[in-house]
């Protein structure tokens, strides 16, 4: 399945400043693997050592938080929009570890 992944500001150093990237995968974990193959380092920003999505990063498929779907096993349909959304704090600007 071909999907579009929306990249937050904090990760665009890894993606050569691209804010949306086409990716492939039948489910979310395949999609992340495909992204990591093109942009090494992306996966470890999103997932912890045990492979789970980090608790301060949300991933949405068509606007729905995958934690309320099937997590990394959430199936992807052709044309789906995958959004990566990190927690941001900062009345004046504060980064999360996501910053590349």
């Amino acid at each position: 399945m071909s999907v579009i992944v929306r990249i937050p500001t904090a990760l665009r150093k890894i993606t050569a400043d691209q804010d949306r990237i086409p990716a492939d995968g039948g489910d979310l974990s395949e999609c992340i693997a495909s992204l990591d193959a093109s942009y090494p380092g992306l996966k470890e920003r999103l997932c912890d050592e045990s492979g789970e999505i980090r608790r301060f990063v949300n991933i949405y498929v068509n606007g729905e938080d995958v934690r309320f779907l099937q997590g990394l096993a959430t199936p992807l349909k052709n044309g789906a929009e995958v959004s990566i959304v990190p927690a941001v704090a900062g009345g004046g600007g504060q980064a999360t570890e996501l910053e590349a």
């Binding site: 608790r55 301060f56 949300n58 600007g93 570890e97 996501l98």
Partner: protein, 361 residues
């Protein structure tokens, strides 16, 4: 002389729904006579049985009430702006000054004088007088939100002025709550500012929040964010949240029982991996956008207008100038607002390693 006459909402049906009409006359009296001729129905409102201007109608020339000028003999110049404003009956009157000050929002049918009264009666706490809190406070004050609490423990640094528009250059070195209070008083003396020159902690959060109807989060760290989230939920207060990073901003609203920040992000990033705010650059207009969105959400909640951001996270990308939204939900497994909560009071956020922010019995 040709002048512009402002017609307030209650009279607008008498002028073909026009908020401004052109008028002519050498004096206010001549202008009123001319208006009576052209708009007879309006004319009925502008005179009593004796043909005089009724006491409850206030006439302003360039924002000055004519009794402080020369009454109906006040001369008019080309281009003057004249307003005819009725006082509203009842004990909870808006003053003529307030009718004029807030006229551009009172004329909105969904706001009106009743809505303005709600704004003046509202009590809103803003936590943080920085990049987000400044624009939020300025617009809430300008709109006439009657009581604004400001929590901030810092003194103004020269480097804050690039984005923190509540403060001015001579304020460098002063407590931010003091300069905030002065700035707000200049914008709108109707607003009572309650300065809280403290850092919000688990020891004082519940007591401070209890005094307000709702809370605007404008903080620069995750510890205070989670503390505020928990305190607002436990106190049953809506929590308007905003955050910015580099070129991106987020805003949402948490209404108790409909999800909280922990449902959205179960845990903050590990503390040792979060750079201090001074290490991350941003343009001041970014928290400007997000802070103004927070202010608008507050106004909507007070006025009961539209659909709040509750249930949605708004994401703003300044580089592509795009707004997107994703859904937020109450998580049944949430330790604060889930089905089997383990957090029943606010805990010791400061001393804990960040992972324990996720739960406290």
């Amino acid at each position: 002389m040709t002048v512009t006459v402002y017609i307030p909402a209650p009279f607008r049906r008498l002028t073909g729904n026009r908020s401004y009409v052109e008028g002519h006359g050498q004096t206010v009296a001549e202008l009123l006579d001319e208006l009576k001729t052209r708009y007879p129905a309006l004319g009925d409102m502008l005179q009593n049985e004796a043909g005089e201007l009724p006491a409850h109608i206030h006439v302003y020339v360039n924002n000055q009430e004519i009794h402080s000028l020369q009454g109906e003999a006040t001369p008019l110049k080309d281009g003057d702006e004249v307003a005819v404003i009725p006082a509203i009956a009842g004990g909870q009157d808006l003053t003529p000054d307030q009718m004029l000050r807030y006229s551009r929002q009172i004329m909105i049918p969904q706001v009106g004088s009743a809505g303005q009264r709600k704004l003046l009666d509202a009590k809103v706490l803003i936590v943080g007088a920085g990049g987000l809190g400044s624009p939020a406070a300025v617009y809430l004050a300008a709109a006439g939100v009657g009581t604004l609490g400001i929590v901030d423990n810092d003194e103004l640094d020269l480097s804050n002025l690039q984005r923190q528009i509540l403060h001015h250059t001579p304020d460098v070195g002063r407590p931010k709550v003091e300069s905030a209070q002065e700035t707000i008083a200049l914008y709108n003396p109707d607003v009572r500012v309650i300065p809280h020159r403290v850092r919000l902690t688990s020891a004082n959060a519940m007591e401070i929040i209890a005094q307000y109807d709702m809370v605007v989060g404008a903080v620069d760290n995750f510890v205070t964010r989670y503390l505020l989230n928990d305190a607002c939920y436990l106190a049953g207060k809506p929590y308007i949240d905003g955050g910015v990073f580099l070129f991106e901003g987020q805003a949402t609203v948490f209404v108790p029982g409909r999800g909280c920040y922990r449902c959205l992000f179960p845990a903050p990033p590990p503390a040792d991996l979060v750079p201090s705010p001074s290490q991350v650059g941003l343009l001041g207009a970014l928290p400007g956008v997000i802070g103004v969105i927070e202010a608008f959400e507050v106004l909507k909640l007070i006025l009961g207008l539209g659909e709040s951001l509750s249930g949605r996270l708004l994401i703003f990308d300044a580089l592509t100038m795009e707004f997107r939204q994703v859904r937020t939900r109450r998580d049944p497994r949430c330790p604060l607002c889930g089905d089997a909560p383990t957090i029943h009071e606010i805990g010791d956020y400061e001393a804990s390693p960040s992972s324990s922010l996720a739960g406290h019995d």
